[in-house]
Symmetry: C2
Subunit: 228 residues, 2 copies
């Protein structure tokens, strides 16, 4: 109906597969589901960021934050990948990977040993963020990725700190998840072997928080830490 | 003294730093200590392996195993990095990274938020392993990296499985560890702020093993699982 307001556009429910995001093996373990990708990303705060330096690959662990369909990483303006992205035109080709290991899969045969895992691989170009508003929002997202809710309870970056921090943006566009779930897949003829087989779940969690010895008097442990 | 038997040569206690393994930032967090590198590697079984494909970086999570000064990764002979390494002469340039996250570091200022971590980054060339003995030993090491002692309690790979599995070797030569330990490093003028600050340790462990429903009658949970 002409003149009718359009609803805000929703991103499609899945990312479009590309040559780089369709695996050569175990294609049944791949997924392009947007919600699944977001969920895997939101459960972690450390990724492995790959880039190419002098023709060779470099993979570094680093914190990240997600804001909608954008990921952000940060670092000192003096650090190598940040400098490379700032100098590169148009940006630095990167691959950003996040992995959760959920269980060890012990099969009767060496061949069928495996792990249950969920991973997300993002291919794309990292761009230096120069807009001050986007930079501040990205830094808040990085902190909230570590502890949701924390950015409302800290001193934000001042001008000098902002100037010393470089932020890179990577769009969620060429993205895939890959996961293995379920039990042991031994060959039928191996089932009678006397070796124990099954899953060993891996559990993760937060230990008891250790307050800084110089806390201001009366500072209580915040709810966003006790609720975990 | 001529004719005197030499003692077996010991590797030096530290790896030699190179241009690629000396960080541009936080050089005080870097270490080349061989025992520390081994300890960090031996505490995990999943690494992030980076390689270059069509000029762009690719980072994939994969299992690994350590045998002395060599790391091994494996995969289907049909998988992309394995095929690339087999076809490449002389091997495939890779970067293999292992990371443990030990604690979240919550500072009063956004700027000093951090994590305590230990990581190892290995630069080098991955070679296709063709010697059957080395290949078998590597596959045992991969299983023992997941659960120490397991390789003695499983059916080893048969000829067909061995032929379907490619193994890559990466020497521990150009290697560094990087780690952050300790507490919060807020600026003195921020210490009186009312925000909670401190460490939130991350704990990892093994949940209760889930036996495969088709275990042979009388198969007990092995000691190498109960002892963890």
């Amino acid at each position: 109906m002409p003149g009718t307001a359009q609803p805000p556009s929703q991103p499609p429910p899945a990312y479009t597969p590309t040559d780089r995001t369709v695996p050569t093996r175990s294609a049944d373990r791949a997924s392009y589901d947007r919600e699944l990708v977001h969920a895997i990303l939101d459960e972690a705060c450390v990724c492995h960021l790959g880039f190419v330096r002098d023709g060779a690959p470099v993979v570094l662990p680093t914190l990240y934050g997600r804001v909608g369909e954008r990921l952000y990483v940060h670092g000192s303006t003096g650090s190598r990948p940040l400098r490379m992205a700032g100098a590169a035109d148009p940006g630095l080709p990167v691959c950003l990977t996040v992995t959760h290991v959920d269980a060890l899969v012990l099969a009767r045969s060496a061949f069928h040993h495996s792990i249950n895992y969920r991973s997300v691989v993002v291919h794309g170009t990292a761009y230096d963020v120069t807009d001050p508003g986007e930079k501040r929002a990205a830094l808040d997202a990085l902190v909230d990725q570590v502890v949701p809710g924390r950015s409302a309870d800290m001193r934000g970056a001042n001008k000098k700190e902002l100037a010393a921090t470089a932020v890179l943006r990577l769009d969620l566009d060429e993205v895939s998840a890959k996961l293995r779930t379920g039990g042991v897949n031994d060959d039928p003829e191996d089932l009678s072997l006397p070796h124990w087989a099954g899953l060993v779940p891996l559990v993760r969690g937060y230990g008891t928080p250790v307050p800084d010895p110089d806390l201001a008097p009366g500072t209580r442990l915040p709810d966003y830490l006790t609720a975990r």
